[in-house]
């Protein structure tokens, strides 16, 4: 491609944009159009007319319960993930620990945040399942019978514990730059002005970190809400959450109404979309402060 001569100036603009045509084509065909198909389909009858009925049909006990369970699952894993992840990141950066702790922790977080899905479920079944390592250890060494106490890895809380394996590292990876951004001089200035450690955290550090914390919470929420594989492999059809319901619907129209699947998926997009929007706006806000 050579630059056209000056007399053909009018054609220069379109030619430039041609360069990203492959990408735009790919995005349209395999990202945007499929998503639009779902969004539009949620408001269509099987014959193609516009309707709200699909959305209204979401209002069954089973589906409401699925959404509610998904929201609970996402809230809990995001909350615990945020708290534990923040604790570990803060410990690593501000806890006076040797510098050699940081690199392995960040590397491992990179690995763990990608180790989601089917194998993760297996790992937790092998550890906390009926014949799991810890289950047996507690029974033989301490006489504690988890099963009798009502604990079952193949349950809501079992899934929460399993999800944390990739939620906590994700929190660590995202919040570490934000904590790094806390200038040492802020702490020192606050100290010299008479502040205790608690006062510094309450009046300076946590307010500065708040947008990042809240934003990452939203991200973790969205991450959990959309996850399928781990739940499928661990609790399968036993736990009624939206991704599992949608999976079953896609596989075999278990809901008896093909367009209801669209509505289910649409609901997912709305929830993860809002959560991600919150994350992105808050991250932009915090970047302005930590200039």
């Amino acid at each position: 491609m050579t630059t056209p001569p000056a007399t053909r100036r009018k054609l220069r603009l379109p030619l430039h944009w041609l360069g990203i045509l492959p990408f735009v084509l790919f995005a349209m065909l395999f990202l945007i159009l499929p998503t639009m198909k779902i969004v539009i389909g949620a408001f269509q009858t099987p014959s193609g007319e516009f309707t709200f009925q699909n959305i209204l049909d979401l209002n069954t006990d089973s589906i409401r319960s699925a959404y509610w369970t998904s929201i609970k699952l996402s809230l809990w894993t995001a909350l615990i993930g945020c708290v534990m992840g923040f604790a570990m990141a803060a410990a690593m950066i501000l806890g006076g620990l040797p510098k050699s702790v940081r690199s392995p922790l960040l590397t491992f977080s990179g690995v763990a945040s990608n180790f989601a899905g089917v194998p993760l479920a297996f790992a937790f079944i092998a550890t906390l399942g009926p014949a799991g390592l810890i289950t047996l250890y507690l029974r033989t060494e301490f006489g504690i019978n988890l099963r009798a106490m009502g604990f079952n890895i193949l349950s809501f809380w079992g899934l929460v514990i399993t999800y944390l394996f990739f939620q906590i590292p994700l929190m660590i990876l995202i919040i570490t730059p934000a904590i790094d951004g806390l200038k040492r001089e802020w702490r020192e200035a606050a100290t010299v002005l008479g502040a205790t450690s608690a006062q510094y955290w309450r009046m300076v550090a946590l307010p500065i970190l708040f947008p990042s914390l809240l934003g990452t919470f939203a991200l973790l929420f969205a991450n959990a809400f959309g996850a399928v594989a781990t739940a499928y492999a661990l609790t399968g059809p036993q736990l009624n959450i939206v991704p599992i319901k949608l999976f079953a619907q896609i596989r075999g129209d278990v809901l008896g109404n093909p367009n209801l699947g669209y509505a289910l998926a649409f609901g997912m997009i709305v929830i993860t979309g809002i959560a991600n929007f919150i994350y992105i706006t808050l991250r932009a806000r915090s970047e302005r402060w930590l200039k």
Partner: protein, 265 residues
């Protein structure tokens, strides 16, 4: 000091939480032969023709996705930086979409949009479905691949490099292949390893498109067998770890060689 004790506490608690499942799955995977630790589960798995087929399939898909992704992303990121800075926010927004829209929704859209009665019946044939799956994988990997390559390009003065190459008579393909690619190789490799890790373990898209990939194979085995699944989990974890480790290695090597280059002057 109090802070240090609390800090060590948090770290140790976390390490315990992460270590125990890994130990658990490894230990369990060695217990196939009654009463003694053995690699029987691994032998069974690795000898299983299903394993070989599905693992091979996923590896092939991963490589195809990587090649496609590189060919798509590198020229695009380069072109946007060079000629279309106005398009940047728009392109970046697109690359963030796969992180917002769950994979299950995307593949649902594929199935409805490209089924046998549509204008592009990709699901009508095996090859078509394979290509569709690969596009799905490329979509999942897009945010990471684009961000990696874009960061790599940022450190280069591509405008000057391009002008210099053009003044020497190079065409666009030569520029991309001979000048841009080698300089962003580290970024591309990082994106490639990450893509590999994502594709190998992927379940949702492969299962719903009914393709014989490693993810669905693992899940089926998990529903039917006891000791092979943890062995598979160990293998999967090892692969993930290897990918991340290779990314670190490649990054460190590039810094090292860049430092050496600096010293030669």
């Amino acid at each position: 000091m109090m802070t240090r004790i609390a800090a060590w506490g948090a770290i140790i608690l976390g390490v315990l939480y992460f270590l125990l499942p890994l130990v658990g799955m490894t230990e369990f995977s060695l217990k196939m032969r009654r009463g003694v630790y053995s690699f029987d589960a691994y032998a069974k798995v690795l000898g299983d023709p299903q394993f070989q087929q599905t693992f091979g399939y996923s590896v092939l898909m991963a490589l195809a996705t990587i090649v496609f992704g590189v060919l798509l992303v590198v020229p695009t990121a380069y072109w946007v930086r060079l000629k279309l800075p106005a398009a940047r926010p728009f392109i970046e927004f697109i690359t963030l979409l796969p992180l917002v829209i769950p994979a299950i929704v995307i593949v649902f859209g594929y199935i409805r949009l490209y089924n046998t009665s549509s204008w592009l019946p990709m699901t009508g044939s095996i090859t078509g479905t394979n290509i569709l799956l690969m596009m799905g994988y490329a979509t999942l990997a897009l945010p990471y691949m684009y961000r990696s390559v874009d960061t790599g390009l940022r450190t280069l003065d591509i405008a000057t490099l391009t002008e210099a190459a053009q003044s020497l008579g190079a065409g666009w393909i030569t520029i991309l292949a001979r000048i841009i690619m080698p300089n962003v190789l580290v970024a591309v490799l990082s994106g490639a390893f990450l893509t590999f890790a994502i594709v190998i373990g992927e379940f949702t898209m492969a299962a719903l498109l009914d393709r014989p990939a490693f993810g669905p194979y693992m899940q089926i085995l998990g529903a039917n067998r006891a000791y092979e699944p943890p062995a598979l989990a160990v293998i999967a974890f090892a692969i993930t770890w290897a990918c991340m480790g290779l990314i670190q290695l490649v990054t460190r090597l590039s810094k090292h060689s860049r430092a050496l280059q600096g010293m030669e002057h």
